[in-house]
């Protein structure tokens, strides 16, 4: 008999800790964006980048099973983007993100968005070394997503309710959705916005700037 007492995800967690140290040393803000496919993550990113790129250095790591389409959409905004194709995999892991950093070489004090594979299940368990997981839910998806996929909403610090411009055409119950999210995670913060019309974007930009500012503090 051998006692080993090892966490199954210990290896991923070691790489995540390395990434976190990397971000910390450079005063970077790294965010792990998670959602189901089609929630509007990439549009939210391109709209966010357009509003922030003159004031901040931004870089993007894109995770998708196949194609480099999302990275191309990001590069069109003028910021560096690296596509990771996970192939058969359903999530990004910390090791692959570490490799991407070597290639991408993000600047000190920059904002790094890691757009995870569109999947509300697996990415919740894999720490990438990010400061926060941000879960994006679009109003076309149904208000019960937070309790159908509780792990992800439990792991996220911020939830963005996207595509609010479509609310007049849908039966989506925003209040109920927010209540479900808080039931799964009482600490979660929630923002409603439409990346397409720009409504509500201001709060999101202010959140990003405040979080970036926090990374610049040199603690003793």
């Amino acid at each position: 008999m051998v006692q080993i007492e090892q966490d199954i995800l210990a290896k991923n967690n070691r790489y995540a800790a390395e990434n976190r140290r990397y971000f910390g040393e450079r005063g970077m803000l790294a965010l792990n964006l998670v959602s189901s496919p089609g929630s509007g993550k990439t549009t939210l990113l391109t709209e966010t980048i357009a509003r922030l790129k003159d004031d901040f250095d931004i870089a993007v790591i894109e995770g998708d099973q196949q194609t480099a389409r999302d990275a191309e959409r990001i590069r069109a905004t003028g910021v560096p983007a690296l596509q990771i194709n996970t192939g058969k995999g359903c999530h990004l892991d910390a090791h692959r993100v570490g490799h991407a950093l070597e290639t991408l070489q993000p600047k000190n004090h920059s904002l790094l968005f890691i757009e995870n594979v569109g999947n509300l299940v697996c990415p919740s368990a894999f720490d990438l070394g990010e400061a926060h997981k941000v879960v994006i839910l679009s109003v076309t998806e149904g208000e019960d997503k937070p309790i159908k996929y509780p792990d992800m909403f439990h792991a996220a610090d911020l939830m963005i309710l996207n595509k609010t411009d479509l609310l007049p055409y849908l039966d989506f119950d925003s209040e109920q959705c927010i209540q479900y999210a808080k039931q799964v995670n009482p600490r979660i913060k929630i923002l409603s916005l439409s990346a397409k019309t720009g409504e509500g974007m201001d709060s999101w930009l202010r959140w990003l700037k405040a979080e970036l500012e926090l990374q610049r503090i040199d603690y003793a």
Binding site: I4, E5, P150, D151, Y180, K182
Partner: protein, 113 residues
């Protein structure tokens, strides 16, 4: 969720430990899986047999120790048992719960030769 990649991680740990602990065959693996770890134990058993084929743990037995979910209820100031992350406190109905056990997935023990 990703039971196949979890099994691949398990195999990596078994291979690493083989050198340190000087064994060449694994006969039984005990895993501790929390009720809130979002691991489907049936899928894990299936993937385990497939991933271990041809390795040092080929035909190894998988024993799963299930750990109940536990959370601290803030209004009640005590630990309560929860089955799901969206459960309410069974005593006061609050959702101000902080999970403090039952989200682990660990390799606990091995029977080797």
């Amino acid at each position: 969720m990703h039971e196949m990649s979890l099994c691949e991680s398990i195999l990596q740990v078994l291979e690493q430990q083989a050198e340190a602990q000087q064994y060449s065959k694994v006969k039984t693996v005990w895993l501790e899986i929390g009720a809130l770890a979002s691991v489907e134990t049936e899928a894990l058993r299936f993937s385990f047999d497939v991933v271990m084929q041809g390795s040092l743990a080929d035909h190894a037995q998988l024993e799963i120790i299930e750990v109940p979910g536990q959370a601290w209820c803030m209004p009640c100031s005590r630990n309560v048992v929860v089955q799901q992350l969206y459960d309410l406190c069974p005593h006061c109905g609050s959702h101000q719960l902080q999970v403090n056990s039952g989200d682990q997935m660990r390799i606990k023990e091995l029977e080797v030769e």
